[in-house]
């Protein structure tokens, strides 16, 4: 069974800027995959290379076994891409636009019932006859998603589908993407909302400065992180000197401490707080979130 996406040693430069530097990744069929990374990491560039919007300088990419250059027709038929930019064609209505897009993929009238389903699924029903120009940003985003799906692609890539989208629509979109995944589509998405990636995605790759710095299951990535966080309220306004290296936030009796599971003993830390910081008034612990792992791995300090 070929991988949904097979990316092998892909590089891409813009002038002297190396946007992708030997990226290799494999996304299995049926996966729900998050491609994460700070602004400018190269996520959209990688998606552009997969979709054929950009020409890579080196490497190979295959979609379900179809090379994106040599067999571009098959590769593109199997791929649906929602671009990050909110682009639209101002001349046509929503329904017309979707039918046109299906036509480009070689799908005729037989795709119209599916287009109706998409319009329903993305709650675009009452905008069917509106021209794109007249729609709000969130509505345009939904049309863009529908456009990427008109040809029923088995592999779907969404580049920041929830950027600039309100809470309700965001939930709606995640619900819709989950449904697509349940129906057997492979989903790859980028997002800066890490809680969402954490709860939705099974596997994660982190891209930084054009290189893959992590590629693991969400669970392993979180488990590998050695930290646990402790938020305490103390009687004293100063933190005991021995605990100061652990402090990552808070001031004046409200502290956030980061404990290394392998080194710092939770009981000992609590004892110290009780005896040297005027007693513990309140305490809360939490495990590492994806955001902590992400910041840890991509922050400049981590690279030194």
């Amino acid at each position: 069974m070929p991988a949904a996406l097979h990316i092998d040693q892909v590089s891409k430069s813009f002038g002297s800027l190396k946007a992708l530097d030997g990226v290799s990744l494999e996304v299995a069929q049926g996966d729900f995959f998050a491609l994460l990374g700070p602004n400018g990491a190269g996520k959209s560039t990688l998606i552009g290379c997969i979709a054929g919007l950009l020409q890579k300088d080196a490497g190979h990419i295959a979609v379900l076994g179809h090379d994106t250059v040599r067999a571009y027709r098959q590769a593109r038929r199997h791929l649906g891409v929602v671009p990050q930019e909110l682009v639209y064609d101002p001349f046509f209505t929503v329904e017309k636009m979707l039918r046109i897009q299906a036509g480009y993929f070689g799908c005729g009238r037989d795709s119209w019932p599916w287009i109706d389903e998409l319009i329903e699924g993305l709650e675009l029903g009452d905008k069917r006859e509106s021209t794109l120009r007249a729609l709000s940003g969130g509505m345009k985003r939904r049309v863009l998603i529908a456009q990427a799906l008109v040809h029923r692609p088995p592999v779907v890539i969404l580049d920041e589908p929830t950027a600039g989208v309100d809470v309700e629509l965001r939930r709606g979109l995640w619900h819709f993407t989950r449904r697509l995944h349940d129906e057997g589509h492979t989903i790859v998405l980028t997002t800066h909302y890490l809680e969402e990636a954490e709860s939705l995605c099974r596997n994660i790759a982190i891209l930084d400065r054009g290189q893959v710095i992590a590629r693991e299951s969400t669970r392993d990535l979180l488990a590998r992180h050695p930290y646990r966080f402790l938020e305490v309220k103390t009687g004293s306004q100063t933190l005991p000197e021995t605990l100061q290296p652990l402090q990552v936030g808070g001031t004046q009796g409200q502290w956030e401490l980061r404990l290394d599971k392998t080194r710092d003993d939770m009981g000992a830390v609590l004892d110290t707080l009780n005896s040297q910081a005027g007693g513990i008034r309140d305490v809360r612990t939490r495990d590492a979130r994806l955001e902590d792992v992400f910041v840890e791995m991509t922050s400049r300090e981590a690279r030194r």
Partner: protein
């Protein structure tokens, strides 16, 4: 690669036609009005004084020239502005993501531009009858000349659209290349009336053959031999097409 994506090609062609038909006031009516204004003005000023071809009155001589000028400008404007606008708005990705080949994109854009140019030309021809009788001596020759010329300019429009990153770039093509070349190629006069140097220089100007070719279709005679005009313009079209297809296939500017 197995065959052509026919549905894709047909859809893109229909979409490009739909695009200019939705703004037909700008894309059809307005160029016709412009040409009619030229006609009215030149008729008033020159009609009694000039006889370019024996037995052909000046207005009848002028109309095929104006038709060809409109064909040229509108064929170019259609593909150039459609492509430039899509690039600027970013919606060009909608045709770059699907399995459309360079040839299919080329044929759709060229076809739509030719159709718009012919529509403008046809309306202008019909309006011309209000001014003077306009029998066509060799209709097939006239139509071939119009299609070949429109094809050349449609393809030049694709090339300009690929290269242009802003509307100013496209306007520069239009104002510094297409307008002067079409204007100076015998719309208003026969090149035989030019000083010898310029008359000979016209032999190397494909735009001259376009206008001359249509006149040949109308009157049965022209400055250059009738078949030569068609051959030169067809050759020019083949050259331009090779350039445009290569650029599309290599993804110049469209797939950086």
């Amino acid at each position: 690669m197995s065959g052509l994506n026919w549905i894709g090609l047909r859809t893109l062609l229909a979409k490009e036609i739909g695009r200019f038909m939705k703004v037909a006031g700008q894309t059809i009516t307005s160029p016709v009005i412009t040409a009619v204004l030229y006609l009215v003005v030149f008729q008033q000023v020159l009609a009694d004084r000039v006889e370019v071809y024996p037995g052909v009155d000046y207005v009848a001589f002028l109309i095929p020239g104006l038709i060809m000028m409109s064909v040229i400008q509108n064929a170019f404007a259609n593909s150039a502005s459609s492509l430039t606008q899509s690039k600027i708005m970013g919606n060009v990705v909608f045709i770059l993501l699907p399995p459309l080949s360079a040839l299919e994109i080329f044929l759709a854009f060229t076809g739509a531009a030719i159709l718009r140019a012919l529509l403008v030309g046809l309306v202008l021809y019909l309006v011309g009858w209000l001014f003077t009788p306009l029998p066509i001596a060799a209709p097939l020759h006239a139509l071939t000349a119009a299609i070949l010329a429109a094809g050349c300019l449609a393809v030049m429009g694709i090339i300009a659209g690929i290269l242009a990153d802003k509307f100013e770039h496209m306007a520069a093509f239009q104002n510094y290349l297409i307008m002067p070349l079409s204007f100076l190629s015998g719309v208003f006069y026969s090149v035989q009336d030019l000083p010898p140097f310029w008359a000979q220089a016209s032999a190397f100007n494909p735009f001259f053959y376009m206008i001359d070719g249509l006149r040949h279709g109308f009157f049965g005679y022209s400055d250059a031999p009738g078949w030569l005009g068609l051959v030169v313009v067809a050759g020019f079209l083949a050259l331009l097409s090779a350039i445009a297809l290569t650029m599309l296939a290599r993804g110049v500017r469209l797939r950086p």
